[in-house]
């Protein structure tokens, strides 16, 4: 039911954008191992924010997608099994093909110390989970290159 409603809504929303804008949709890559987060963030970013959303469930998959798709921004989970968020960021920043992509951490850990450490790694910013699906696109947009 969720998918049907979501798809129905998206068709409406995208048609509306096509009529009113010649801008390409900004492409967001979400890398998160948690299904529930990917589902709600995708719905939020697509239907509220009008973004094109790419999904990856882990660091390795995310790096492959980032290299081939060149998203405008990557939302990156911190704690993931296998290659974690910081490890993924390092690999992306060390590769000339992906080093310019804006990366924003999305983390359930919200301590001030984490914020500082994560930014020092080269992230443009840090957003916290849980997020408000109505507000997430607005928060993401602040980090998009103008």
């Amino acid at each position: 039911m969720a998918a049907a409603l979501l798809n129905g809504y998206l068709i409406f929303h995208i048609d509306k954008r096509k009529k009113n804008s010649i801008m390409a949709y900004e492409k967001i890559l979400l890398i998160d191992d948690e299904d529930d987060i990917r589902t709600v963030a995708q719905m939020s970013l697509q239907s509220v924010g009008g973004f094109q959303v790419l999904l990856a469930s882990g660091g390795e998959e995310g790096i492959k997608t980032a290299t081939s798709e060149k998203p405008d921004l990557i939302l990156l989970d911190v704690m993931m099994p296998g290659l974690d968020g910081p490890g993924t960021l390092r690999r992306l920043k060390n590769d000339p093909d992906t080093s310019d992509i804006t990366i924003v951490f999305l983390t359930a850990k919200a301590q001030q110390m984490d914020f500082v450490n994560l930014k020092e790694m080269g992230a443009a910013g840090v957003l916290t989970k849980p997020f408000d699906p109505m507000k997430l696109p607005e928060d993401v947009r602040k980090f998009l290159p103008s």
């Binding site: 039911m1 129905g8 709600v40 359930a108 849980p130 109505m134």
Partner: protein, 120 residues
């Protein structure tokens, strides 16, 4: 608010409600996985891999609950995550009392999710 804005909000709310129902309905399966991990930990109280698995499960609920309109899920799960973290940080085996405490976190989560599920 224009008609288009109103339609957009209504569509979003309907989609969000459907996602929330799916999230709530997925709880029994996730609870079972938590309980199995906890049983394994009870048998192997020093097993760091099982402890990590359990901590990661609570970490996921902490991150997702509030986004689905269930902030109590996030709060309870974050407490459980930090509780398990304290044993991992101290490199300590999980005590029988700690097992009881984790069971209580699962019970609390169960009561939150059960209150959301439609009566059958």
């Amino acid at each position: 608010m224009t008609n288009n804005d109103s339609l957009k909000t209504d569509s979003f709310n309907a989609a969000m409600e459907a996602l929330r129902k799916d999230y709530v309905n997925s709880w029994p399966e996730k609870r079972e996985r938590l309980e199995i991990a906890l049983e394994n930990l009870e048998k192997n109280p020093k097993d760091i891999i099982i402890m990590e698995e359990l901590r990661m499960s609570f970490h996921r609920f902490a991150g997702s609950g509030g986004s689905y309109g269930l902030p109590e899920v996030s709060v309870t799960s974050r407490e459980a995550e930090l509780f398990i973290d304290s044993f991992l940080d101290a490199d300590e085996a999980i005590s029988p009392d700690a097992i009881k405490e984790i069971k209580n976190y699962i019970k609390t989560l169960d009561s939150i999710f059960t209150a959301q599920a439609p009566a059958s």
